[in-house]
């Protein structure tokens, strides 16, 4: 009974040690990841409905109910793929690790001359000097390029063994460990961290932010105050810089003041505050100017949304109805604008558009009175991304490990060299052969170079 259980466990273990599984998992991850780049992720139902139409929306929703295709990177099956890959990486590494350790931690590296002699890539030449003389000049040269050298005397000559970088066999484990670090860091972040956003009008402060994935409210331990928001433009009209002056207030006391811009966030007590968007609030009160066509007189009146203003000279009544942060006119975006209604004495209603950027816009209407926005108090709000991710340093450690590990794994190898010298008549026969754990061609070239050097050595 016990035997059967262990063999079942063994089979599971065997299943996870296979490289074939790695290849299948990596290809599955690559293929399925495409889905989420084609179907926009984490949208609202109405966005999907609008994008795909009724039929395809229903079709995709059906799949979403089973496979979470609208949030596939957090779906159960994608997580399972990642989990399987993790188990695969861990099991493979453990399975091979003890064997690697045995190879690495060895006091006297074993060398088998026969294996070097059988190599096709070995180089041979003869030298007029005796093996003793050659030993004296070869040894310093070889030990310069290799960490470990050993000479074994033979009846009619000697055998020089050298090797280096035995430890680089550990490189691949470093890479695999880095994957575990990154996934673990991601997990820590998703459990203990959050990602939220908040819009704060200039001059105001808040503790409350909204979480991005659940849209729930989250209360911070401190208040964020937006003192000021500024946007600057290049001559071309492209945005140059978004800048928010923030103050962190803890227990009614200001503790930090900082101007943040994109790429330069504010960090406080593990919480990061990023410049992410901005917008304008509708001005509460504006000053309108009314210019009479007949007399040329200009009158200034204060106005607010839905508060009718009587225009002098009996020119009618004007009421602001709405504010738009980006208004359209004949298919062009003309930026911020007020929309209002002018009621003339005779009772005619005319809709009027007052773009803030173009004060003389209303002249085009050729009415009895030209209306414009003379001044307005502009209030921006800053859009901040507020995040906490305690897993980020674990992920960053993974980043460092993967770079170091890949470099070792790809470009360094355990290299072993054998130089055998034997007396043949009054000459010495020299054989040079080398083996490496990786990059066999590189080692072949190296053997060629070394044997040429040895042959020329005086």
């Amino acid at each position: 009974m016990i035997k059967k259980e262990t063999s079942a466990l063994n089979r599971i273990w065997k299943f996870f040690t296979s490289v074939r599984l790695t290849v299948i998992l990596l290809l599955s991850l690559a293929a399925t990841s495409i889905i989420g780049t084609i179907i926009p992720q984490s949208g609202t139902s109405s966005e999907y409905f609008h994008k795909y139409g009724e039929f395809w929306y229903k079709f995709l929703s059906f799949f979403d109910s089973i496979f979470d295709i609208f949030d596939m990177y957090h779906s159960w099956w994608f997580q399972i793929l990642l989990l399987l890959l993790t188990i695969n990486v861990v099991v493979c590494s453990i399975d091979r690790f003890s064997a690697t350790l045995k190879i690495i931690f060895i006091k006297v590296p074993p060398f088998n001359v026969e294996r070097f002699r059988r190599m096709k890539s070995k180089k041979e030449f003869s030298d007029n000097r005796t093996p003793d003389q050659l030993e004296r000049i070869y040894k310093p040269l070889i030990s310069k390029g290799f960490g470990y050298t050993r000479v074994e005397e033979r009846e009619n000559g000697f055998c020089l063994f050298a090797e280096k970088w035995r430890w680089t066999r550990l490189g691949v484990y470093v890479v695999h460990l880095s994957i575990i670090f990154m996934l673990l860091g991601g997990l820590i972040g998703s459990i203990f961290g959050f990602e939220g956003f908040v819009n704060i009008p200039e001059g105001e402060s808040t503790k409350s932010i909204r979480l991005r994935n659940t849209a729930k409210e989250h209360i911070l331990n401190f208040e964020i105050k937006c003192e000021d928001f500024d946007i600057s433009f290049y001559d071309t009209g492209a945005p140059k810089e978004y800048r928010s002056s923030l103050t962190i207030i803890e227990n009614t006391k200001p503790v930090i003041k900082k101007d943040i811009i994109v790429n330069d966030p504010l960090r406080y007590k593990g919480i990061n505050i990023f410049q992410s968007s901005y917008g304008t609030l509708p001005p509460e009160e504006v000053t309108l100017s009314f210019t009479s066509r007949e007399t040329g007189m200009e009158y200034k009146e204060k106005a607010a949304v839905n508060r009718p203003v009587d225009i002098p000279e009996d020119l009618g009544t004007f009421t602001i109805k709405d504010y738009r942060s980006s208004a359209g006119f004949k298919g062009h975006n003309i930026g911020e604008a007020f929309i209002g209604v002018l009621e003339s004495k005779t009772g005619n209603n005319t809709n009027i558009l007052l773009p803030l950027r173009f004060p003389s816009f209303d002249k085009m209407r050729r009415g009895d009175v030209v209306i414009a926005v003379a001044s307005h108090n502009h209030i921006y709000y800053t859009g901040l991304q507020v995040t906490k991710d305690p897993g980020v340093w674990v992920v960053y450690s993974g980043f460092i490990l993967i770079i170091v590990g890949c470099f070792i794994t790809f470009f360094m190898s355990h290299q072993r060299l054998c130089v055998e010298v034997s007396k043949s008549g009054d000459k010495s026969l020299v054989m040079v052969a080398g083996r490496s754990s990786k990059n066999k061609m590189g080692m072949q070239r190296k053997v060629g170079i070394i044997s040429e050097k040895l042959a020329k050595l005086k």
Partner: protein, 281 residues
């Protein structure tokens, strides 16, 4: 003479070098091969001068930044890296037939930048999101990776052609390096590219974390770079499997480069944060 002019001339020089490499391969002549090499070196000098001059010009315009900020500049840099890595390979492996399969890639990249009416060669100011020291590290490492994959792609085609002709009848294929050598070279290039792609993704992640507060967000460009990474990771592991030497590795290398191209160009068709790499920019 401004940088755009120099880079237009470079385009034709690279075109000529690709033509000479192919000529030297097809007619088995040493002379055009040598000429091809020197043409390429000349083109590289122009390419380098163009990039440096563009950098200086941006400072003269008062909007100084490294010339790595839009599609035009990235394509120019892409062909520069392809040529640099190729010249290194030619010097090390002493075989010019590879040039016939790689030099055209460098030519296509810069020709697309110079000649496509959809790609503007104007120097534009940096938008706030791109104002970061990470820009240079991120773009350079990504494109070294892409260039190594491009060369692996060219060599994989050579491998497949060579394998098709089993009896070694074709005189054209006879001049290729041996199949083993081509496979080894593909592997070397993929390893080199994989390291740089990894560093490219990592620098992008660190940058994203300092700009947007998250190191990974499954934005289409991020995801496609990861897909590319998965494909090449598959290749590196498949080599350890029995029966997966040779052709299948070559196919994976070709699929991997297709993923690179989609990461580079195709993603601009999808919505996302990397839109500044798109057309008309």
């Amino acid at each position: 003479m401004n940088s755009s002019n120099i880079l237009s001339v470079t385009t034709f020089v690279y075109g000529l070098s690709a033509f000479l490499y192919i000529l030297s391969w097809v007619f088995k002549k040493q002379a055009p091969g040598k000429l091809a090499l020197w043409t390429t070196v000349f083109g590289l000098a122009g390419n380098t001068a163009g990039i440096i001059l563009r950098w200086i010009e941006s400072y003269q315009l008062g909007i100084g930044h490294a010339p790595l900020s839009n599609l035009y500049e990235s394509l120019v840099f892409f062909s520069w890296t392809i040529v640099v890595i190729y010249l290194f390979v030619e010097k090390k492996y002493k075989n010019r037939t590879i040039g016939a399969f790689v030099a055209p890639l460098a030519f296509f990249a810069i020709a697309y930048a110079s000649l496509s009416p959809n790609i503007s060669d104007r120097i534009q100011p940096l938008i706030p999101a791109l104002k970061s020291n990470w820009l240079i590290a991120h773009v350079i490492t990504c494109f070294i990776g892409y260039a190594a994959f491009a060369i692996a792609f060219g060599i994989s085609w050579m491998y497949l052609l060579k394998k098709k002709d089993k009896e070694g009848k074709s005189q054209l294929l006879d001049r290729f390096p041996s199949a083993n050598m081509l496979e080894e070279l593909t592997h070397q290039m993929v390893m080199f590219g994989f390291l740089f792609l990894s560093v490219g993704i990592i620098t992008g992640a660190v940058w994203a974390n300092s700009a947007w507060g998250r190191y990974w967000g499954w934005d289409p460009k991020e995801t496609w770079s990861l897909i590319t990474w998965f494909v090449y990771a598959t290749l590196l592991h498949a080599k350890m499997m029995r029966g997966w030497h040779g052709k299948r590795i070559a196919y994976l290398s070709i699929i991997g480069f297709a993923a690179v191209l989609f990461t580079y160009f195709g993603v601009n068709l999808l919505p996302g944060l990397h839109s500044y790499g798109a057309m008309g920019q």
